[in-house]
């Protein structure tokens, strides 16, 4: 871990746009990537981190300054092939990186390009698939794999070129927690066992914990650099850079503020539990549980009820599959209902029944008391009253101007011009895009977070009574995530009943009063957030996790430091309050 394998010297880069000022993306970056290290580059969207990544294997050449890969300057085109085989890169969206229709052939694409002999290609394909644990899927068609599996195929495709450095350019951003975990553990193992240098670019702080070195970027510059511990201990500085600290670190800090003796930085649950154990003696669980459930379940009228619902895809064809069965869900007016489950669990199928996009093949779905399969039911009225936002709703944008796109729904209702305008204004204000400022903006010039909000405005403009959100924050950086959650909270306060589908436990813990757990195509558990999160074992059996805070408290309970009942807290604030009380009570 000494000799730099990649060197960046005063690198500047601007994107040239026709008839416009060039956009500066990198602003004098000096960076060395050392042989064998695990380097994480953090930064939110627009910080220049992806532009930086593309400089590492000569996909982009700097406008000013130099990038050296080993002894080759990336400007020299004659070394392009050497550079590309030295530095491999995996991108964000797995679907857009797969070329072939069969997994193993896709992995072979790189070695084929290098003109390797057939036997060598076969050897490398076998090895690469083994490394990412995809050998048993080698003859599959990629579109039949999950996102995480596809990304593993992409990694194998890079590994087959035998690179010394593997750059992961936000490769986990589009994946669900299981896929993310898989990709991370593969990266860690490659680094440790195969000696592959890893450069991981991400906006998830948790992914930096196991790194050798962390670099934080902002405005095309490197703002912070150091070991994870050094970086995460500078909480104030991180807040200025709008970076999100991992929950366990936040908990440690919150405890430190209440009890200065407690260390301000903890990177893992183990570390946190150790620190706590040293400061409290077992069995002395005197402190009472002060915090009770702040969000009690609502008992308003039932607006959507699903009883014993089953649905098939490709019905009446040889490829028929049952997507969901025995689904039972009740949604009450004014509540925030959370649905947890990972990709493929059937949650998307379930929510599409809520606005009659899908109709049950078994059981009954009633929306506002009307059976969605009945002939006399007005489906369009249901769709108007129940808004549904799909994952990545920004793909539905199609108009040139933001205002027109938001107006699409109200215009479909055949409303008069004035009314349409009023609704567009209201919807745009509700997502924090000022009407006057944004209505004539070009839709496709918006940032990722703004597009997401414009798309949601298009649904709010129908003035739905119920809003179903499928993974509303997926793919957003921490800043965008925070903004959107605040907006959603506000919509709820204005009286919209919400259904939120997520695999982010922290988010659901914060937002939802009642939760359903969906697994293997059926509703498995339901209850208040606290009831659900206290069943850590049952959740983990489904490949789901409780919020980090709950996991940490459960570890404390395992050690007999607190009681089981006390371990069911799930927010940082509540847990810090309770644990802080314990520490201070002991002193």
């Amino acid at each position: 871990m000494s000799h730099p394998i990649i060197r960046l010297e005063k690198v500047h880069f601007s994107y040239e746009i026709e008839r416009q000022e060039p956009i500066k993306a990198l602003n004098g970056v000096d960076l060395e990537v050392r042989d064998g290290e695990y380097l994480v580059i953090l930064g939110h969207n627009g910080s220049g981190k992806s532009t930086l990544a593309k400089h590492l294997n000569a996909l982009l050449a700097p406008t000013e300054g130099d990038v050296w890969v080993r002894d080759w300057n990336t400007r020299e085109t004659q070394h392009m092939r050497d550079i590309r085989t030295t530095v491999g890169m995996v991108f964000q969206t797995p679907d857009n990186q797969i070329v072939a229709t069969i997994v193993e052939e896709d992995v072979a694409f790189g070695p084929e390009n290098l003109g390797l002999p057939h036997d060598e290609i076969v050897r490398r394909v076998d090895w690469a698939l083994e490394q990412v644990g995809m050998t048993e899927f080698r003859h599959r068609a990629p579109h039949l794999l999950s996102g995480g599996q596809k990304q593993r195929v992409c990694i194998a495709g890079m590994l087959a070129m035998r690179p010394d450095v593997l750059v992961l350019d936000e490769s986990t951003a589009m994946l669900d927690p299981i896929g993310r975990k898989d990709v991370l553990s593969i990266a860690q193992r490659l680094n440790r066992q195969e000696g592959v240098t890893i450069v991981a670019i991400t906006h998830f702080m948790e992914e930096a914990i196991h790194a050798d070195r962390v670099v934080i970027m902002e405005n095309g510059r490197i703002e912070m650099e150091g070991t994870p511990r050094e970086v995460f201990s500078q909480v104030e500085r991180l807040r200025e850079l709008q970076m999100d600290v991992p929950p366990i670190t936040r908990l440690a800090l919150a405890l430190h503020e209440r009890h200065p003796d407690f260390p301000a930085v903890a990177l893992t649950i183990d570390e946190f539990v150790d620190a706590f154990r040293k400061r409290v003696t077992p069995g002395r669980t005197t402190s009472h549980l002060s915090n009770s459930d702040s969000q009690t379940p609502h008992s308003g009228e039932t607006v959507i009820s699903m009883q014993d619902v089953g649905h098939y895809y490709m019905l009446d064809t040889p490829l028929e599959v049952k997507a969901v069965e025995h689904v039972n869900i009740d949604l009450h007016r004014d509540e925030v209902l959370g649905i947890i489950g990972h990709t493929g669990s059937g949650k998307s199928t379930i929510i599409q029944h809520m606005n009659a996009l899908l109709k049950p093949h078994e059981g009954v779905v009633q929306v506002f008391g009307e059976d969605t399969t009945a002939n006399e039911t007005d489906i369009r009225a249901i769709r108007r009253r129940v808004g549904l936002a799909f994952q990545h709703p920004e793909i539905q944008l199609f108009e040139r101007f933001v205002g027109d796109d938001v107006a699409y729904g109200p215009r479909n209702l055949g409303l008069p011009k004035e009314e349409v305008r009023e609704r567009v204004r209201e919807a745009m204000e509700a997502v924090g895009l000022g009407f006057e400022e944004f209505k004539d903006r070009m839709t496709f010039s918006l940032s990722g977070g703004e597009k997401r909000r414009a798309a949601l405005a298009g649904i709010l403009a129908l003035r739905p009574e119920v809003l179903v959100l499928d993974e509303p924050t997926a793919g957003l950086d921490p800043v965008g995530r925070r903004q959107l959650l605040e907006l959603i909270h506000r919509w709820h306060e204005k009286g919209i009943t919400l259904v939120m589908v997520s695999h982010n436990m922290e988010e659901l813990a914060e937002m939802a009063g009642r939760l359903y757990v969906v697994a293997n195509g059926t509703t498995l558990m339901n209850g208040t957030a606290r009831e659900i999160f206290s069943q850590v074992d049952a959740l983990q059996a489904q490949g789901l996790d409780a919020p980090t805070v709950t996991l940490a408290l459960h570890r404390l309970a395992d050690e007999g430091l607190i009681s089981r009942e006390q371990a069911s807290l799930y927010t940082v604030e509540a847990a810090a309050e309770f644990l802080g009380g314990m520490l201070n009570g002991k002193l």
Binding site: F109, P111, I121, F390, Y408
Partner: protein
């Protein structure tokens, strides 16, 4: 009600793995033999020859262990074209000479022996054509086909036929069909949730119809372009610089039977071309059509 499942009713291009002899043929042999058969059918202008040809195809189907019902399902896709051709021939072929026996005449419109004959012939031809192409896709995977096309075209590289590039384009197109179909489905559902009325309304007014489809087509295209851009980055990162100097992971191997099949198809084609097929008139005369 609307159905958003786009791939549910398409059977053409579906691989049916029965593991038969036909499945295990070298895709090059399969493509070459099929080309000979298609040539044969294009030249056979006798009903009898076409019937024999259809029987041959049904025998191949049996050997492939594929249900004839599947083949017929694929034919449904070709049905609109067939009906269109029939209507056109019914209306206009009556004037083709020599007309032969005239069954019916009303002003300019007439039905003759010749026009019925042509209709029957084109119907049989289309049927054979659809069956043959479906058979190929049902017995070969998409990668087999792309590799087959690439290798068959390779000799034409000297005359600047970009065989590798064509195969790559074919492969990427096939690769993204399911992805884009899924995306289209999502966009349809998203717009339907915003009150869009897709597939109904005034579809007979082309301007209105086009406008109704814009909310689907614009996002689909924009996304396809974004995907294409990503794909270019990914291919470059994996060292792609064109077909020059590339090697192949998949190595197609021909066995004796592949040569047998190709030669048999070739001989069959020659036979179909040179055999003195009886003209239709004597047969008709025999069954007493013409006095």
């Amino acid at each position: 009600m609307e159905n958003f499942e786009l791939l549910r009713n398409v059977t053409i291009g579906q691989y049916i793995p029965t593991g038969s002899v036909i499945h295990r043929l070298d895709p090059r042999a399969k493509l070459l033999a099929a080309s000979f058969l298609i040539l044969a059918i294009s030249f056979a202008s006798s009903i009898l020859a076409n019937i024999i040809f259809l029987i041959v195809i049904l025998i191949i189907t049996r050997i492939s262990r594929i249900d004839v019902k599947y083949l017929l399902r694929g034919f449904i896709l070709g049905l609109p074209i067939l009906i269109f051709i029939f209507v056109m021939q019914f209306l206009f072929m009556g004037r083709a000479e020599p007309a032969g026996y005239v069954f019916f005449e009303w002003g300019w419109f007439r039905i003759t022996q010749r026009s019925l004959y042509i209709m029957a012939l084109s119907g049989l031809r289309l049927l054979s054509f659809v069956f043959l192409t479906s058979l190929i896709t049902m017995t070969s995977t998409t990668t087999e086909l792309t590799h087959g096309v690439e290798q068959l075209l390779r000799p034409f590289r000297r005359v600047r036929v970009p065989s590798h590039e064509l195969a790559l384009i074919l492969m990427i197109a096939l690769r993204f069909v399911p992805t884009l179909a899924e995306e289209m489905e999502n966009i349809m559902k998203a717009q339907a949730s915003r009150g869009a009325d897709i597939g109904t309304g005034r579809m007979w007014r082309p301007d209105k119809a086009a406008k109704a489809y814009l909310p689907l087509i614009v996002p689909l295209f924009l996304n396809a372009f974004r995907r294409a851009e990503d794909l270019v980055w990914a291919m470059e990162a994996r060292g792609y610089v064109g077909g020059e100097g590339r090697t192949n992971f998949i190595q197609l191997k021909s066995r004796g039977i592949d040569y047998v099949v190709v030669i048999a198809a070739f001989l069959f084609m020659i036979f179909m071309m040179v055999f003195p097929w009886p003209s239709i008139s004597p047969i008709l005369r025999q069954i007493g059509f013409m006095g």
